[in-house]
């Protein structure tokens, strides 16, 4: 790595995260499964196809409008499993607690985890707890890992993305990041802005049952829709062209972005998914999604192109075309 120390941007899901993976992690223990770089791994154990994933949660503040770190930790792993085309089954929970952390807060967090796990139909079957000295952590960090059963007949892989396919987004973007930013800076926002944090496995199961031909599913978390689509464009060797007019952003989120200088395309979501599917199945898929609580605002936001391989572009509302680049690090606010 060019710079000798870890910077915050290495953890943001953008270019530097990717560089860290490619230059430090993959050379050490890369293998055909890991090299796929999907949200979760598809592996076989005793002849069964299983999805396996892990994720760590260090969100600040711990409690925010629409959820808390516990809900995030369950949903995040459940969603990563769902995006692999599986039915999530079992989770592990590892917690690192900081000395002095209020037990009442911990209780709130684990109760939420229990409730969210129930909602998602998964069992938390193993776990671990460690305590570090005061000052060595931020209250609580949580790691969850999970396994799920791959749904028969599905084959989720960026390699199946083809020019002409539609890009479908399940709903409004940027809600989670906006709720977190508001919490962090004590901005008073309308109650309509809440984290979208939700388990998407129910929606995914219905989507895959109706249209098993779905090529790729991905939840646009860190780095937002922009980072996720750039990854897919690169992994699939295709281009993606978005239509600005079709991308659903709440006016309140737009307003906060305006103030803080953010672009909603780069904001994290915790209850949204992107699906790539042959255009002939789009109608059927949207119909299924619209019936579901977490997919009712789904729509086609763009197309896969043979042009501009590895790049994501956008036709703007006034008819210009521009690139939607991979984010480098976290977004920083403008100062004038």
């Amino acid at each position: 790595m060019e710079q000798g120390t870890i910077k915050m941007e290495h953890g943001s899901g953008g270019k530097l995260s990717k560089a860290l993976m490619e230059e430090v992690i993959l050379p050490a223990y890369g293998n055909p499964v890991l090299n796929e770089m999907h949200d979760g791994a598809s592996v076989s154990t005793a002849g069964n196809k299983v999805a396996f994933t892990t994720d760590s949660y260090v969100v600040k503040p711990l409690f925010f409008a629409g959820g808390n770190i516990g809900k995030l930790a369950v949903c995040g792993t459940v969603n990563d499993l769902a995006m692999t085309g599986s039915v999530p089954r079992y989770l592990s929970v590892g917690m690192i607690l900081e000395e002095g952390f209020p037990i009442a807060d911990l209780r709130r967090i684990v109760e939420t985890m229990c409730q969210t796990a129930k909602e998602a139909g998964v069992m938390i079957v193993t776990g671990d707890t460690k305590v570090v000295n005061k000052g060595a952590g931020d209250g609580i960090y949580i790691n969850t890992a999970g396994i799920g059963d791959i749904i028969e007949g599905t084959n989720i892989s960026p390699k199946r993305v083809q020019p002409g396919q539609d890009v479908i987004l399940s709903g409004y973007i940027g809600d989670h990041a906006t709720a977190i930013m508001a919490g962090r800076h004590e901005l008073v926002l309308p109650t309509s802005i809440q984290s979208d944090c939700a388990p998407l496995n129910g929606l995914v199961k219905e989507m895959l049952t109706a249209v098993p031909q779905i090529a790729v599913l991905r939840d646009p978390t860190r780095g937002g829709v922009a980072a996720t689509l750039n990854e897919i464009a690169e992994q699939s060797g295709t281009g993606i062209l978005l239509e600005e007019d079709t991308i659903p952003v709440r006016p309140e989120v737009d307003a906060v972005c305006e103030i803080l200088g953010f672009d909603p395309l780069y904001l994290a979501n915790e209850g949204k998914l992107l699906a790539f599917v042959d255009a002939k199945y789009s109608g059927k898929l949207l119909e299924i999604m619209h019936k579901h609580e977490f997919g009712k605002d789904a729509r086609i936001i763009g197309k896969v192109t043979a042009d501009a391989v590895g790049q994501v572009g956008m036709r703007t509302s006034i008819g210009g075309i521009r690139i939607v680049d991979m984010p480098i690090g976290g977004q920083i606010p403008r100062i004038c």
Partner: protein
């Protein structure tokens, strides 16, 4: 409603037709606000304008025009054990002569990122044993908040809060550009946020002394197209004035309350602009009444002078002499992840915007995969 999506396309295509009709020879219009630079790219405005209309970016990004000398001083303060530096995030990556604040932070300097200068008062109150220095960077838009912070610190009798001012004023910079024989501009897209504070008056010299069309612009795609249309009309009619396209925000006399706050705390001073050099009375320094909050007065520090040699052409980019893509470092040695020049650092810098929005990089429709 202007913003309604279905109408946007219709209005845009009408304005574009009119611009095309009015402009009969090549013109160069300069925007002097980083937010405009980004808005122009985000909306893809360059591609829809007639080829005769060229938009060029001026020195409109406060981070970009901040000189090496200032960064060196900030880094020197940051390295002091008794100092906590509070700054907007953009400043971390701005290169000084030999280092950056980001490097200083990685090496243990206590540098906190704030979203509002007022947050630095909290830091000062929580760390009475440390000197908290806020890096006051920005144009007329952000300077009043910094002034309000100093006033609030005075009211709270905080003894450990200071500002290191690099505030800059837009009108003197425009004047300097206009007397520069290398700079060719046919009209100005004036910074809406700055004008919301200053009002129209400080820009009247543009038509009056330099016969230069100028329009105060908002930041939506249609605001910018409307502004280009108004400039095209002035150019076509051969008349010049300061027009206001952004009336919903910008009052003719700006924001007198904010200006009064500025005048209470600051006074005009000569300032060094990256790429341009010293411009008389183009900066703001803390005045005598509030000197105890001026880091340079209250905590004087010696900074070694170093001269940096690079092939970076930020200076020419900032004056609109060259496009970022004409710099041979652009997109190669100089990238957003490791910027050589300040224009690649801030999200609102010309080079960063050109790079981020794909100018010269995006291959859609080129058949050039």
């Amino acid at each position: 409603m202007l913003e309604a999506k279905q109408d946007t396309k219709k209005i845009a295509s009408f304005l574009l037709q009119e611009i095309d009709r009015l402009i009969t020879k090549p013109v160069r219009l300069m925007e002097v606000c980083g937010t405009h630079t980004v808005a122009i790219f985000r909306a893809g405005i360059r591609q829809v304008l007639p080829t005769q209309v060229e938009l060029v970016s001026g020195p409109g990004c406060p981070v970009c025009v901040t000189a090496d000398e200032y960064m060196d001083m900030a880094i020197a303060y940051a390295k002091r054990q008794d100092v906590i530096l509070a700054t907007f995030g953009d400043m971390l990556k701005v290169p000084g002569s030999t280092s950056s604040l980001g490097e200083a932070k990685a090496n243990g300097a206590d540098i906190r990122i704030v979203y509002s200068p007022l947050e630095s008062l909290e830091i000062a109150a929580n760390h009475p044993d440390k000197n908290v220095i806020f890096l006051a960077v920005g144009f007329e838009t952000t300077a009043p908040t910094a002034a309000a912070t100093v006033l609030s610190a005075a009211e709270k009798k905080l003894k450990n809060f200071f500002v290191l001012s690099a505030h800059k004023l837009v009108p003197p910079a425009l004047k300097t550009l206009l007397v520069d024989p290398e700079v060719k501009v046919d009209g100005f897209i004036l910074p809406g946020h700055v004008c919301a504070i200053t009002g129209e008056e400080p820009f009247q010299f543009l038509p009056e002394q330099y016969h230069m069309p100028a329009v105060v612009a908002g930041f939506e795609p249609l605001d910018i197209l409307q502004t280009v249309y108004l400039l095209a009309k002035q150019i076509h009619d051969g008349r010049t004035s300061v027009e206001n396209e952004y009336k919903r925000i910008v009052k003719k006399n700006g924001n007198p309350v904010a200006r009064q706050m500025l005048a209470e705390v600051y006074e005009p001073a000569d300032a060094i602009w990256r790429g341009i050099g010293l411009i008389p009375n183009s900066g703001l320094r803390v005045n005598e009444r509030y000197q105890s909050f001026d880091a340079q007065v209250a905590l004087p520090i010696e900074v070694e002078k170093t001269v940096k040699q690079t092939a970076c052409r930020c200076g020419q980019v900032l004056r609109g002499l060259i496009k970022p893509t004409e710099c041979r470092l652009f997109g190669k040695a100089c990238l957003p992840e490791h910027p050589v020049g300040a224009c690649m650092v801030s999200v609102e810098g010309s080079c960063a915007a050109w790079y981020k929005y794909g100018s010269g990089r995006y291959q859609y429709g080129t058949g050039n995969n």
